[in-house]
C-alpha cells in the first residue's frame, strides 16, 4: 500500500485543453486581422488628410490658432471655441444671443437644444459664419487669450 506524506501540498494539474487553445488562437488571429485592417485604414486617412505634427492650415498664421471652421464639434463649449479661433467670447455669445454667465459651461449641442430645438447644427453653423467674419476683419494674434474659468 502506498503511503502519502501528510504535510506535502497536494497539487492537482488542470492544463488548458486543446479546444481552449484553439479558441484563443482564433480570437487572437481575428483581432490581428480586424485591428490590423482598421489601423491601416486609420493610417491612410491620416496620410490623405496630410496630418503632420504642428501642421499649419494654409490660412493659419500661428500653430496656436485654428482657422478651419470644420474642426468645430458639438461637444465643444463657447469659451473653448473662442480660445481655439482667437475670437472674443463675448462676440460669440452675442452672435448666439445668449447670456455668457448661464451658458459658458454648456456644450454647443446643449445650447443648440435650448435655443433652436428643431434645427440640428444651428449653433455650429452660426459660429462658423461668425468666426470666418471675425477672422476676415481682424488679423490673428500669435497667441490667443486664456480662458477664464
Amino acid at each position: 500500500m502506498e503511503e502519502k506524506p501528510e504535510d506535502s501540498i497536494v497539487l492537482k494539474s488542470r492544463e488548458p485543453t486543446r479546444i481552449w487553445i484553439i479558441i484563443l488562437l482564433a480570437i487572437g488571429a481575428g483581432m490581428v486581422i480586424l485591428f490590423g485592417l482598421r489601423s491601416l485604414h486609420s493610417y491612410r486617412r491620416i496620410h490623405e488628410a496630410g496630418v503632420r505634427p504642428f501642421a499649419l492650415h494654409p490660412d493659419r498664421r500661428s500653430p496656436h490658432v485654428a482657422t478651419d471652421v470644420e474642426e468645430l464639434r458639438p461637444w465643444m463649449t463657447v469659451p473653448q471655441v473662442a480660445k481655439m479661433y482667437a475670437v472674443p467670447e463675448d462676440y460669440l455669445f452675442q452672435v448666439l444671443n445668449i447670456s455668457p454667465a448661464e451658458n459658458r459651461h454648456k456644450s454647443l449641442q446643449i445650447i443648440n437644444r435650448e435655443i433652436k430645438p428643431g434645427v440640428k447644427g444651428y449653433v455650429i453653423e452660426k459660429l462658423k459664419q461668425a468666426i470666418l467674419q471675425f477672422q476676415r476683419e481682424h488679423s490673428l494674434p500669435e497667441h490667443a487669450p486664456a480662458i477664464t474659468p
Binding site: L11, S13, L24, M31, F35, S42, I46, H64, Q80
Partner: protein, 192 residues
C-alpha cells in the same frame, strides 16, 4: 463619437485638470471609459492653451495610480477566496511564480500598450501576493509613459488629434491581438 465621450470631453474642457484626473481614477478602477482618447485630447487642449498641461498630467497620474491601487487592494482582499478555490492547482502556483518573476513587465506594458488587460493584471497582482511597493513603482512608470506618449501625440498634432487618436485606438487592439496570438502559440507548443 459616443454621447459618453462627448460628455466627458465637454466636462474636461470646462472643468479642466480635476475632472480629467477624476475620470482617469474612475476608469482605472474598472469603469470602461475611453481614457486613451481623453489623454490624446488633453494633449491637444494643452497645445491650444485650453488648459494647462502640467496640472492635467499630475492630476491624471495621481488619478490613474489611485484607481490601479484600488484594483490591487480589491485583488488582495479576495486572495483568501482565490487560494481556497484555485490554490491547489499546479497552474495557479506556476502562474504565481511567473507573475512574481515577470509581473513588473506585465504591469508596465498594460498601462499604455495592452490597456485592456490593465484591470485583470491589477487584480492578479493583488491576488498573487505581489509586493505593493513594486507594483506601485511599475505602475507609476507605466502610467507616466501613457500620459507622456499619448498626451504628447495630442500636443504634437493639435486640432488633428481625433484622427491620431483613432489610429492609436486601433493599434491598441492590434497589439492585444498579437499578445493573445503569442500566448496561444506558446500554450499550443507546451501542450504538445
Amino acid at each position: 463619437m459616443s454621447a459618453l465621450t462627448e460628455f466627458l470631453l465637454s466636462n474636461v474642457v470646462t472643468y479642466g485638470a480635476p475632472v480629467f484626473g477624476l475620470t482617469l481614477l474612475v476608469a482605472a478602477a474598472g469603469v470602461p471609459l475611453p481614457t486613451t482618447f481623453l489623454v490624446v485630447a488633453a494633449g491637444a487642449f494643452s497645445q491650444q492653451g485650453i488648459f494647462d498641461g502640467l496640472p492635467a498630467f499630475l492630476l491624471g497620474l495621481v488619478g490613474a495610480i489611485l484607481g490601479d491601487s484600488l484594483d490591487f487592494w480589491a485583488g488582495r482582499y479576495g486572495r483568501r477566496w482565490v487560494l481556497r478555490r484555485f490554490g491547489g492547482l499546479v497552474s495557479w502556483h506556476r502562474a504565481e511564480v511567473i507573475f512574481h518573476r515577470r509581473g513588473g513587465l506585465a504591469i508596465y506594458l498594460t498601462r499604455f500598450l495592452l490597456t485592456a488587460l490593465a484591470l485583470p493584471i491589477n487584480l492578479i497582482a493583488g491576488t498573487s501576493g505581489y509586493s505593493f511597493p513594486r507594483f506601485l513603482l511599475y505602475d507609476v512608470f507605466g502610467e507616466a509613459t501613457w500620459l507622456i506618449v499619448y498626451g504628447g501625440l495630442g500636443y504634437l498634432f493639435g486640432t488633428q488629434w481625433e484622427l491620431v487618436s483613432d489610429l492609436i485606438s486601433n493599434f491598441g487592439g492590434l497589439a492585444l491581438g498579437i499578445a493573445i496570438l503569442v500566448a496561444g502559440v506558446y500554450l499550443w507548443h507546451r501542450a504538445r
